[in-house]
């Protein structure tokens, strides 16, 4: 049986803000279980509660109610943080420090002995591709470099559980690919990684499971394949040699997506009418070039959850 790395049951958080102490409920009974060794993608629109959940897990804010166990301990237990790594969203770091001093500072917070500290800093700077920037002050670092040094500080204690809040935000495709590689390497080392992201293709590429949070509530959680299923949303049929009369006859079942030269791309809503459409094309002396099923993407799923919430 897989061991549980993180367990949240009915976790709620209400913030009070402004002069009138207006209550804003950021989390509304979040339930989440993450197994050890898993890469978990946490998705949701801005203000949905992703960052609030992650901050509660690492003890930056306190829940208003609910049950939380991080590596079988309460998040308020300082000792559990010895086994956690955390990268906050859009991190700002001590810009007066250079990369080496910066990592050394965090290593000291774990009371890591000097010899281990030196070796680990050298290795981590290499892992995040900053070994040649060790003596450079962070104020000269680009956004991508800051994100990478931020990941290095999250790994300084060789943690079992790594929590990354928007690790790919603001990065160029190369920077994103580097972060993806680091996360995949962590999985190979049997680490548990929880990361939030707006960039859905990145989540799709590396997460074992995803959770979708909208307006403080978890709407969907599970394996990506299970969530998206094998259900075909629509079918694209590319045909050659059909005339306008035939396309208008098919209009009820297949919409014209585009026409390129003598090629017409038809979109059939769902798999059921496909045979009928194909028969009609053949009968009309048209040539079928390709039939491509279009499946639901993670982006479609997130959007549908957001729309459901809005309506």
């Amino acid at each position: 049986m897989a061991q549980i790395a993180l367990e949240l049951k009915g976790v709620s958080k209400t913030f009070r803000s402004g002069f009138a102490m207006r209550a804003v409920q950021a989390l509304k009974g979040v339930n989440l279980t993450i197994q050890k060794g898993e890469i978990f993608g946490y998705l949701g629109p801005n203000g949905a509660g992703k960052t609030t959940t992650l901050k509660i897990i690492v003890g930056i804010i306190f829940p208003s109610s609910g049950y939380i166990r991080v590596l079988s301990q309460r998040p308020s237990d300082v000792a559990v943080r010895q086994r956690i790594g955390f990268l906050p969203e859009s991190p700002y770091f001590y810009e007066y420090l250079n990369a080496q001093e910066f990592l050394d500072f965090y290593a000291r917070l774990f009371a890591i002995p000097l010899g281990v500290r030196r070796e680990r800093i050298r290795r981590l700077l290499k892992t995040v591709g900053l070994e040649r920037k060790a003596s450079e002050p962070l104020r000269r670092f680009s956004k991508g470099m800051l994100q990478r040094i931020g990941i290095a500080q999250a790994l300084i204690n060789d943690p079992e559980l790594i929590i990354l809040d928007e690790p790919m935000s603001g990065l160029d495709p190369l920077g994103r690919a580097q972060i993806r590689e680091i996360i995949q390497r962590l999985k190979e080392e049997d680490k548990t990684v929880i990361f939030s992201s707006h960039i859905i293709p990145d989540v799709e590429a590396i997460a074992d499971r995803v959770g979708i949070i909208v307006d403080g509530k978890i709407r969907d959680v599970g394996n990506i394949d299970d969530l998206l299923g094998t259900r075909v949303q629509s079918v694209e049929i590319t045909v050659r040699g059909i005339d306008a009369k035939l396309t208008s006859r098919l209009a009820a079942k297949a919409a014209v997506k585009r026409i390129v030269g003598d090629h017409t791309v038809l979109v059939v809503d769902g798999p059921e009418p496909v045979n009928e459409v194909i028969d009609a094309i053949r009968a009309g002396k048209g040539t079928i070039e390709s039939v491509e099923p279009i499946r639901m993407t993670l982006e479609d799923l997130v959007l549908s959850q957001m729309r459901k919430d809005a309506s």
Partner: protein, 260 residues
């Protein structure tokens, strides 16, 4: 366990000190040195026979004023900056208790002040030595007491910055500093209103606010007067107790805070 706690606090102390040094705060010392040197040469012209006393008086006052300015202006931003720039997220998510963080910030500021006061005092002692040919021992005690006062002001600044914005914290700390120098007067003044609510209010203020005049032995230093040992011991104990109390209250407030 104790050892690892000390190591973590020490890491935060060093980082705070490093930040202060790289923020060029200590360059205020150079300014102080120039000011005091200029004043002592001007005093030669406008005072007759009082030059040494004025140098001592102004020197000690300068160390205190510069120190208080640094204690307030650095102290109030110390914790707030970490929250505002969100660097605190990476600290409190590490195995660092919030009281350890606060203590690290506090002693980091105290270390900065120690270096600053040491540098200012060195310049001050050199000038006094060149004037008198010796350094009266009471001057060391006076500087030490000033430093204790600065430590207390730092603790007040840390307390306010653990829950308030820098501007408000600055105003509150300055307020405490000013009242702290008036409490003795407040105590004596209260007897004019014997039996009234005003007397009670003045006495509450007297006991509640720190009596910073306990650390002011400038007039003894200027006139090279002897000090009662009991008085110094009492002031040190009073200062350390007040600082401890302020840090405990700050830690309790800070431990319950959400960092949004």
């Amino acid at each position: 366990m104790m050892m690892s706690s000390t190591k973590k606090i020490w890491a935060i102390i060093l980082n705070t000190f490093r930040e202060a040094v790289r923020d060029r705060i200590l360059y205020a010392i150079v300014f102080f040195a120039i000011v005091i040197l200029l004043i002592s040469t001007v005093m030669d012209i406008i005072t007759i026979g009082q030059r040494a006393k004025i140098i001592i008086d102004m020197g000690l006052a300068s160390i205190s004023i510069f120190g208080v300015l640094i204690a307030i202006f650095v102290g109030i931003g110390l914790v707030y900056k970490e929250i505002d720039k969100r660097t605190i997220y990476t600290i409190v998510s590490k195995p660092v208790a919030r009281w350890q963080f606060l203590l690290g910030k506090y002693f980091g500021l105290v270390l900065t002040l120690l270096v600053e006061v040491a540098a200012m005092s060195t310049i001050f002692f050199i000038i006094v030595f060149s004037e008198l040919g010796r350094i009266p021992p009471v001057l060391f005690v006076a500087v030490g007491m000033t430093f204790l006062e600065l430590m207390l002001v730092c603790a007040v600044a840390i307390l306010f910055s653990s829950f308030s914005t820098p501007i408000l914290s600055g105003m509150y700390t300055l307020g405490v500093y000013l009242i702290g120098h008036l409490t003795r007067d407040l105590y004596q003044f209260s007897f004019r209103f014997k039996g009234t609510f005003l007397q009670k209010l003045m006495l509450v203020l007297y006991y509640f606010f720190p009596n910073l005049d306990n650390f002011n032995i400038r007039s003894q230093a200027v006139h090279d007067l002897p000090l009662a040992p009991g008085y110094i011991a009492f002031s040190i104990a009073y200062g350390l107790l007040y600082i401890t109390l302020l840090l405990v209250v700050s830690s309790v407030i800070f431990s319950r805070r959400d960092f949004k």
